[in-house]
């Protein structure tokens, strides 16, 4: 239970430069300000460096031998200079933040909304495979990590690298051979940095994936709270969550160990090199090859670049985390949309509402290869095949109500979902008025085709908003709402605390299964589609309500083409004709009584009245 997998997604490991290039379109508008911010950061650094210089010259100049020859003017000049530099430094710090932070928040928000938009565009097949926590962690923590890196990491990295390069340059210039020795320290450092990067990147990826899985587990533990409570499995869920959280903790510790080892080298190696420089420098001085002044300047500069060098470790790890975040982000943003809109879409202004399935075959994109399934299927049962539908031919006439009947798992729901293109066929075609549904935009198609699901999804909004979710914009008046509620026998909403304005869904009032189904049905009716797809929408209704709904639907939907997935005769009663789905094919079409008379499988599926012997025989016969 609740053990989502971290290995679900291939751990892509693209070169860092390529990753950064991907960011460019998002970052481009922010680049000038970020550049200005970097200049401000350098300015602040220069001011900070200049203040001690002024102090030093003051001490050595006007104040030297003060008592006798005090130079008051010199003192006030220096005070003025320090004051000016101090103000300027604060101003630069202020400017740096203003320049950089605002554009980075824009980049973050932009990337966040782009991800959301793309996720809404991606087909259900994608969402079936990606757990919610993984998507959420990309949208929240990965992007805020990236923003922090842009606001702080990259700026400091550039500033520090510039400082270090200038510093090392100065060291080479002032103390020649000693400078080269110091520079030689860069060789083991680059090697170690490279090795560190490679390891750290892998762990960073692992930790961010695990954090996403943990979020998924939290989500499931809340969505499945009723089951957990019903069986008293809270403690087990807790143990499994704890184990997962502990795994994340261990990954983080692993990360800290890598960081710790690298920090040791990044602090110790430059210092060891400097230690060697001390000894060699003194020897050079005794040999007369180097002046004392040069050695002083050398170490003074070394002291200045010491801080930036040490910070490089932290900045490097931050950059690696940010890179992982970007990789994870683009993994989703790059997922191709397999149910996309056509380049030259066809529009049908007033469809008659004929739906035709032509040689429709379908398997879910993640279905296992056929041979694997066959190896396991020793059982003569409606087994999950690699192919859910294997060659369905069926025509639903305009205005007709057709019931789809078959065993659970036979592909009825899948077939229904093909009409509004929630999935696309693997082969063959679904046609609306003779036009392949794939030649229409999803938006256009779905204004003509509405669907009501068995497990109704209600959003945190008022009853009105939920019911009018797909209604045409010109018709969001009370009449449509009332009509839909009346047909679906959902009058109970008027007794809610605020009537149709009552908030329902996760953040509002909780409704019973039957009530939810009726609202979902009302929603589909309010959309006033030409083709209405009903996926067993009455299963949770009591007999009386079901009868009332059925009667009203028959009256109201005379002109609407209806495809209804049915499990029981009372739902079939809605239909003009019935199609039997068996082994991925339509094996019979006819009226209820025709099929009942001569379709063995149909009788088996729909009839409660056949005797037990016949039932058992039928179970065997289907093989």
């Amino acid at each position: 239970m609740s053990t989502a997998s971290a290995q679900r997604q291939p751990t892509s490991d693209t070169p860092t430069i390529a990753t950064l290039a991907r960011l460019l379109p998002f970052v481009r508008p922010a680049l000038p300000r970020m550049g200005a911010g970097m200049l401000a950061a350098l300015g602040a650094g220069l001011c900070a460096l200049a203040i001690p210089q002024v102090l030093e010259s003051l001490v050595n100049g006007p104040l030297a031998g003060a008592a006798e020859s005090g130079d008051a003017r010199g003192l006030w000049t220096a005070v003025g200079a320090v004051l000016g530099l101090g103000l300027l430094e604060a101003l630069f710090v202020f400017a740096r933040r203003r320049f950089i932070l605002t554009p980075t928040t824009h980049v973050e928000a932009q990337m966040r909304t782009s991800l959301f938009r793309h996720l809404q565009d991606l087909p259900l097949a994608f969402h079936d495979q990606w757990p919610g926590g993984q998507l959420l962690s990309r949208s929240m923590s990965d992007l805020s990590m990236l923003r922090r890196w842009m606001a702080f990491g990259i700026v400091m990295l550039v500033v520090n690298l510039v400082t270090v390069s200038v510093g090392v340059g100065l060291m080479v210039a002032t103390a020649g051979p000693l400078g080269w020795v110091y520079l030689a320290g860069a060789i083991p450092m680059s090697f170690l940095s490279f090795r560190f990067s490679r390891r750290f990147r892998r762990i960073s990826r692992q930790s961010q994936d695990q954090a996403g899985d943990l979020a998924t587990t939290v989500e499931e533990s809340v969505h499945g709270i009723r089951v957990l409570k019903a069986y008293g499995r809270g403690p087990e869920a807790y143990r499994s969550f704890s184990a997962q959280a502990d795994q994340l903790r261990r990954t983080e510790m692993n990360k800290a160990r890598q960081m710790s080892a690298f920090t040791f080298s990044i602090i110790t190696i430059p210092e060891l090199v400097l230690g060697a420089c001390v000894l060699w420098g003194i020897w050079l001085v005794t040999q007369g090859d180097l002046t004392v002044g040069a050695i002083v300047a050398f170490f003074a500069t070394a002291a200045v670049i010491n801080g930036p060098v040490e910070q490089l470790g932290h900045l490097l790890s931050m950059s690696l985390n940010a890179k992982t975040a970007v990789d994870r982000y683009f993994e989703v943003l790059d997922s191709p949309n397999l149910v996309a809109d056509p380049e030259e879409p066809v529009e049908i202004a007033e469809p008659r509402g004929e739906v035709r399935f032509e040689g429709v075959r379908f398997h879910y994109p993640d279905a296992p290869p056929a041979d694997l399934v066959r190896a396991h299927s020793q059982v003569p049962h409606e087994a999950p095949r690699a192919e859910v539908l294997c060659g369905v031919d069926l025509t639903v006439r305009p205005g007709e109500t057709l019931a789809l009947v078959g065993l659970t798992g036979s592909g009825k729901t899948t077939m229904a979902a093909l009409v509004p293109r929630l999935f696309d066929v693997t082969a063959g075609a679904v046609l609306l008025d003779g036009v392949d549904v794939r030649r229409m935009t999803r938006h256009h198609l779905r204004t003509h085709v509405a669907i009501a699901f068995e497990d109704a999804t209600l959003f945190s909004a008022s009853v009105r908003e939920n019911v009018l979710l797909g209604a045409p914009p010109d018709a969001s008046g009370d009449d449509d709402l009332e009509r839909a509620l009346e047909i679906a026998q959902a009058g109970f909403v008027h007794n809610l605390p605020d009537g149709v304005e009552t908030t329902i869904g996760e953040e509002g009032l909780s409704l019973s299964g039957g009530q939810r189904q009726r609202l979902a049905l009302a929603r589909a009716i309010a959309a006033r589609p030409r083709v209405l797809v009903l996926d067993d929408p009455l299963s949770a209704l009591d007999v009386e309500t079901e009868e009332a709904v059925t009667a009203r639907l028959r009256e109201e939907l005379a002109d609407t083409t209806v495809i209804v997935v049915a499990h029981r005769p009372s739902t079939v009663a809605l239909a003009d004709r019935v199609a039997v789905l068996q082994d991925g094919k339509v094996t019979g079409v006819g009226t209820h009584s025709e099929l009942l008379a001569d379709h063995l499988h149909y009788r088996f599926v729909i009839s409660s009245l056949i005797e037990d012997e016949e039932f058992d025989r039928a179970r065997g016969v289907r093989a």
């Binding site: 239970m1 003051l58 604060a90 089951v227 059982v379 999950p384 659970t408 797909g470 996760e506 409660s608």
Partner: protein, 611 residues
Amino acid sequence: MSTRGTAPALDRPRGVEDEERIDLDRETSRAVRRRSRVLLVDLLRPQRVAFWWCVVLVVVAQASRVAGPAIIATAIDTGIPAAQAGDWTRVWLIGGAYLAAAVLAGAGSAAYIRLAARVSQAVLLDLRQRVFAKTQRLSLEFHESYTSGRIIARQTSDLEALRELLDNGITSLASGMLFMLFTGTSLFLLDVQAGAVLAVAVVPVFLVVRWFATRSRVLYRESRVASARLIVNFVETMTGMRAVQAFRRERANDERYAGLAEDYRRNNMRTFNLNGVFDPALQLIGNLTVVIALAIGGYRVLHGDLEVGVLVATLLYTKRFFQPVQQMAMFYNSFQSASAALEKISGLLEERLTVRPAEDPVPLPDPKGDLVFEGVTFGYGSGPLVLPRFDLHVPSGQTVALVGATGAGKSTLAKLIARFYDVSTGAIRLDGVDLRDLSRTDLRRAVVMVTQEAYLFSGTVRDNIALGRPDATDEEIERAAQAVGAHDFIVAMPDGYDTDVNKRGGRVSAGQRQLISFARAFLADPAVLILDEATSSLDIPGERLVQRGLESLLHDRTAMIIAHRLSTVAIADRVLVMADGRIVEDGTPEDLISGDGRFSALHAAWRDSLV
């Protein structure tokens, strides 16, 4: 949630009540702050030894790093003359000291990083576990209004805020304070007047910090609310993606989400801008202090009241005193952010349990399944009564079918037996023991409820069935699946019982999900089984198989079956017809069918619908 609308009192827990509010009155604000501080201290307590070691390591590492330049100064001042005089021992000694300092600085920092991560990760793990355990314990009443998105927000983005604080180093605060204390003291010892300048400078620092504290508190509170809203919206959209796409809500959702993302961005920007004033302001105060110290000191030098050397030293100390300020500002900033997050988390943690575990549980090792409702009344929250005065006795072993229109109170009755809710007055007794006096373990062993929504967790089919009884053997699991007719389709899946329900080929239909959840109940083998619309998605052959399984399963146990399809009634010993929270008919199926009451009419209508 239950306390909404009453006057706030400080001595009682507020829970998640004020969660969405940003402008809290003074007292409330103080109360939630205290609550969040108490939680932080409580979380850090078990780590205190490691915590102080961290401080020691930071100080050691800092001291060694500072020692480096001092050693080099000695080398230049005394080493070079000695070496020029041909005495190299001094140089070697200095070199050795430098190396030792270098290694100590490196090792100290490295050890600190590991230890600090240990503290930080232990705290996070602890808090994650506390939040998870709490959300599992909270009643359904709570979960019905506190969305999953908000719990996820608490567990993800709020925890990240705390993590930033821990990683940014509470320990660096400690070492920074030590550093400032030492520098300040040294300055006072060196020159009282220069010390006085520093002391005066503390006043504006205090004012700026207080200004920042007040402003940032509100902004970070807002930030937690804004990010939680963003998360709630995201989770809800992803969960309901099917309906979103089917009803073309993409564009409207985009706009709404972009609006929320923009709110969050604005809030982020405002906190950055606040920081953008706070940080340079502190810097400026530091720089101005140096200027004033320089002016006064320089003036005194000119008048011969101060040695130049002392001036240089005091200036150096004054400057150094402000060195950790930037770091402290960063720390304080993340402290404010984490506090706001902890305000929310601690609110969730102190939320009162409406279904409380028994304090002194009565053991029930061998439940028989005798159920008694004694003067039970019940209403959801403060709403109207759903069950007005309810009395009922179900002897052990009886199979009862509950019939009635939607809203008659059938599901409520079922939820009360499973103790998803507690009765408002009266009592429900199992084998003579009030349900509220049973331990959670005993209650769950005795009573199991199968609901209409058959939720599957990620994991294998086997894991999902085993949820009914985690210690069950593989044979027992398969027997349970066979009993409800789920075995056949399970073994036909790519990996049989080990098929991951979220992965390749693991897709199951609504009916199959219900079969799996039925197998769970079979495996759990309780004394009292409640089925609330548990067969609604099954096809007729599936229902028939389940029915057969039920007949043998329910033979010797108490069962309450709620079903709109009256096929279930055939196996019931007794039928209860409910309307408006009352029992209006009660009898054996045969008696009721042959009578002329409601049930007889219902049954006739249902009978007619069959073929």
